[in-house]
Amino acid sequence: MRRLAFALAAALALSAPVLAADPSEMLKDPALEARAEKLGHGLRCMVCQSESIEESNADLAKDLRIIVREQIVAGKSDEQITTYLVDRYGDYVLLKPPFKVTTAVLWVGPFALLVLGLLAAWGFYRRRGVAGTQAPLAPAPLSDAEKRRLDALLKEDK
């Protein structure tokens, strides 16, 4: 039983990084294949939304892997291939959207929110800090009567 569990765990661990590209699709030239894979990892599989065409098993992803490789073999540059696909599928095909007016919110938004949050926190703590100096920081010193009572209590203890 334990052996089976171990075998299963090992199989799962080993199967995780397997690529969807089947060997028949791969280019013989390792340098070109590496380029195709790098390019493919940045291209969205249009039917699976959040996977790249290199990772996906979808038919369309397979077609695009083949087309990307065809164009690489034909001597097209990475930019030319990217432009080819953006012309047909829009910026959405890029897993990393380009910085444009329409995507500015996407890129700048999180940082803008962070700055806003920091400003709000700064304002909040500054206001609280000011209020803090007005409130007594240390307890008021003991009055004479209190001191005498404290002395008396301490003496009692001895």
Binding site: V47, K62, L64, I67, D87, Y89
Partner: protein, 184 residues
Amino acid sequence: MRRLLFVLPLIGFLALVAVFKWGLGHDPREIPSVLIDRPVPEMALAPLPGRPADSGLATADLKGRVSLVNIFGSWCIACVQEHPTLVQLKKAGAVPIHGIDWRDDPAEGAKWIARNGDPYERVGADPAPGRTAVDFGVTGAPETFVVDKNGVIRYKHIGPITPEVWKTTLLPIVQKLNAEEMKK
């Protein structure tokens, strides 16, 4: 001012609810096509086996009349669902419909049409890896493009055409495009 600060989270929450509600009503697969208002891609697709030699689909075939270009395949289940509507449109003479048999064995595509009815004027074969379909920015089947008289793509419908879709979405577009003058 103080009061406002307490209302702020509530306003934020309501804004989020509005965004989620809007998002839920959206089909993430419906990606706006970048091909709208662009000419039909260059293509010269072979006819399906057993059909007339001149019944393939080329770019020039889509000029002169408003037409539909329907992406289908014999493997596509939703296409079977859609098909009777196309056949009916053909019978009614509503609009010329052309087909692209996508990612398919052309012989299977021809059989599929023989079995399910033939609403198409022209059918081009685009076997895997479907280069013409990629040129059309196709992400799945069925998809249907409305092409105007100048051979420019004017609308893309993702998913099956139902009588409802035809009546409320496609027919008004076809009528509008029919009324347009052809550019010389």
